[in-house]
C-alpha cells in the first residue's frame, strides 16, 4: 500500500446525452489499482462497469463523454491526453478484452495477420519478427496447433479459442494493465475454468495488473485481490476480497451475497433483492439503492452517503455505517 498505485481513478463522471435525457452511467467513482494486482468490478447489468472501463481507455461509444474527474496512470491524466497520445497507451500500456471476441477480431483477416498487425503497431518488429512473436503468443495462451491457427480465420475457431486469441493479442505488447470485460460470460463453465486459469498463469508470468469486470461473484472470488462493488454508476463499497465477502458493509453487497444459490445451503426460497433496477435517467437524490433497501432510513432517500473508511482495507458508502459509527462513538465517548 505504501508504493503509489499504478492506476488511480478519481471522481470520474461519464454521461451519455440521449434524446430521452442524460444517461448518467458513471457518477463520481474512485478507486485505485496496484501494480500486479487483480481488481474486480462487480455489479448488475447497467451498473456502469463497462462504461468505467471504456472511460479509462477513452473508447466510449458516441455520444458518451467524460464530464469530470481524472484517470491517473504513470503520473499522467489519461482524460487529458490527446487522441494520438492515447493511442500509444491503448494496447501497449493498457489493453482490453471483451465478452465477445468477435467484436474485436476482424472476420476477414487471418488470426496471424491480426496478431502481427497488433504487434507491429506498438513495437519496432518487422514482419517476420512480428510473426514469430505472434506464434510465441499463441503458444503462451495455450492455443493448440498454433502454426495452423495463424492461417485460420476467427470463425473457424471455437468460442474458447477465440478468447485465447484475444488474450494473446491483448498481451502481445506486455501491457501493465489488462482490462477483462466479462471475458468468460459467454463461455461454458469448463472453458471458463480454462480461461481463468490461463489468466492467472499469465499474470504470474508477465506480472501485469488485471481489472476483472464481471457480474459473477464466483469469478470475483476466484480471481481478485481487491473488489469494487458498483450500483447505478457509483461505488457502493471497495476493499480486499476478504473484507467484501466476509464483512460486507453495504446493503446491496449483502443482498447480492444472499441471493446466489449455493450448493451447501438447502432448497426452498432464496433471498432476492426486491424491486427493479434503477433508471439512470432519473437517478434519485439520495442513495441509488435506497428504493430497494430493506434498511433504508429517511436520510438515505434524500442525501447521498459519503464514502466512509471502515478499516485499513475497506471503504463503503452507506448511511448505516455512519449511524453505527456515531452510535458506537457515543458509547465509547
Amino acid at each position: 500500500m505504501s508504493q503509489s498505485p499504478l492506476l488511480q481513478v478519481r471522481n470520474l463522471h461519464t454521461i451519455f446525452p440521449t434524446e430521452s435525457g442524460e444517461v448518467r452511467a458513471v457518477n463520481g467513482i474512485n478507486f485505485s489499482l496496484a501494480r500486479g494486482k487483480v481488481l474486480g468490478i462487480v455489479g448488475e447489468s447497467g451498473s456502469g462497469k463497462s462504461v468505467t472501463a471504456y472511460s479509462i481507455l477513452r473508447i466510449l461509444d458516441n455520444p458518451g463523454k467524460i464530464t469530470q474527474g481524472s484517470v491517473l496512470f504513470e503520473e499522467e491524466d489519461l482524460v487529458r491526453l490527446s487522441p494520438g497520445e492515447m493511442r500509444h497507451v491503448r494496447g501497449a500500456k493498457i489493453s482490453i478484452i471483451f465478452q465477445d471476441p468477435m467484436t474485436s477480431l476482424n472476420p476477414v483477416y487471418t488470426v496471424g495477420n491480426q496478431l502481427s498487425e497488433a504487434i507491429r503497431l506498438h513495437t519496432r518488429r518487422n514482419r517476420q519478427q512480428a510473426r514469430a512473436r505472434a506464434l510465441e503468443m499463441l503458444t503462451l495462451v495455450g492455443v493448440n496447433e498454433p502454426e495452423k491457427r495463424l492461417k485460420q480465420y476467427p470463425y473457424q475457431l471455437s468460442g474458447g479459442m477465440r478468447q485465447r486469441v484475444m488474450i494473446a493479442m491483448a498481451l502481445a505488447c506486455e501491457p501493465d494493465i489488462l482490462i477483462a470485460d466479462e471475458p468468460t460470460t459467454a463461455l461454458d463453465v469448463t472453458i471458463q475454468a480454462q480461461i481463468l486459469e490461463l489468466m492467472q498463469d499469465l499474470k504470474e508470468k508477465l506480472g501485469m495488473a488485471i481489472i476483472m469486470i464481471t457480474h459473477d461473484l464466483g469469478v470475483i472470488a476466484e480471481m481478485c485481490d481487491e473488489i469494487i462493488v458498483m450500483y447505478a454508476g457509483r461505488v457502493c463499497e471497495r476493499g480486499t476480497a476478504e473484507e467484501i465477502f466476509y464483512n460486507p458493509r453495504h446493503e446491496y453487497t449483502k443482498g447480492l451475497l444472499r441471493s446466489i444459490p449455493k450448493l451447501e445451503t438447502g432448497k426452498g426460497r432464496l433471498m432476492p433483492i426486491g424491486g427493479s433496477p434503477v433508471d439512470l435517467l432519473n437517478l434519485p437524490e439520495g442513495c441509488a439503492f435506497a428504493a430497494r433497501c430493506d434498511s433504508a432510513m429517511k436520510i438515505c432517500l434524500r442525501e447521498q452517503p459519503e464514502e466512509l473508511r471502515i478499516n485499513e482495507h475497506h471503504l463503503a458508502s452507506c448511511w448505516l455505517n455512519v449511524k453505527n459509527q456515531m452510535e458506537g462513538g457515543q458509547e465509547h465517548g
Binding site: 461454458d188 469448463t190 472453458i191 480454462q194 476466484e222 433496477p277
Partner: protein
Amino acid sequence: MADHLLQVEDLKQYFPVRTGFLQSRQLKAVDGVSFHIDAGETLGLVGESGCGKTTVGRSLLRLYKPTGGTIRFKGELVDDESIKRLRKQMQVVFQDPYSSLNPRMTVADIIGEPLDIHKLYKTEKEREEKVVQLLELVGLNSDHKRRYAHEFSGGQRQRIGIARALAVDPEFIVADEPVSALDVSIQAQIINTFVELQERLGLAYLFIAHDLHVVHHVSRRIAVMYLGKIVETASADQVIASPLHPYTASLISAIPVADPDKARTRHRIVLEGEVPSPLNIPEGCSFRPRCRYATEICAEQTPQLRELAPGHEVACWNPLFD
C-alpha cells in the same frame, strides 16, 4: 408405467445438416435419452451448450418430430394427434425474455392469447379477470396489463412469460434456461416464483440450465447431459455430493465458488480440450478424449446408464467410487 407424469424412452433427435456440396450428414443432437418426471416434481437438466438440452425440451412438446423413441404423458403416447390436446397440459418458458415476447402486444394480449386459442373463457369480463389473476400469480399487478412487453425489465418480462405458460393451467412446464439471462438478484426472485408456483399449483418442471447451482437449488433430481446423452442421473444432492461420472465431477469443480477462502484452497479439476463437434462424436464413450480415467474399454464400447446406487445411474466404465 402410467405412474409417471412423463415417461421418455430412448428419445432420438437427429438433424440433417449440410456438410458440403450435395452432402449432408446426421447431427445427433439427442441420441437415446430416457428419463421420467413425476407429478409436482422438478427434474433438472444440465450440461454445456450444445449438448442437446433445448432439443430434449422441444422434442417433449413435439416442436420437433422425434427421430426415434417414445414420449408418454400420463400414459398417453405423445404424437401429432394427441399433442393438440396435450399442449394444454404441457407448456414452455424460454430463456430470453426479450425475444420470446412480441414487443407490439400488450401484456393482456400476450397472456390472453393462449386463453383465446384454447377458448378458456365465455365473456370478455371473464378473460380480463383471468389475465389479472395470472398477473398476480406471478407477482405482477393489474396496472401492468395495458403496457407493452418492451416497457418491462428482464425479470418482469420473464414473469410475463411464466404467466403466459400458466394461462392454460398446465401440469408440466419445460423451463429452458429461464433465469440465465437475468442478474443474480433478479434471478433469485424468478427462482422463488418457480418454487412457489410449484407448491401452490403442483406443477412439474423440466428445468434446463447450464448453472449447476441454480439447477441444484430447484430440482429434486438432476440429469447431466454430454453430447446428446444422459451420462448421470441421481437426486440433486447425490449428484453434487458424490458424482460418479468424471464429467459431472469436473463440471461441479469448474463452477467458481463465491467464497475467496474456499476458492483459494480447493483443488480444481480443469478439463482439457473442448466438447467435440456433434458431427464427430468419438467412438465408445464420447467423453473419453477429455477424461483422465479413460481406459481401453472406453474407446471400444459405449457405456450404458447403470444403476450403481438406489436412484443413482451413471454411464461410465470407470465411475468415481472415491
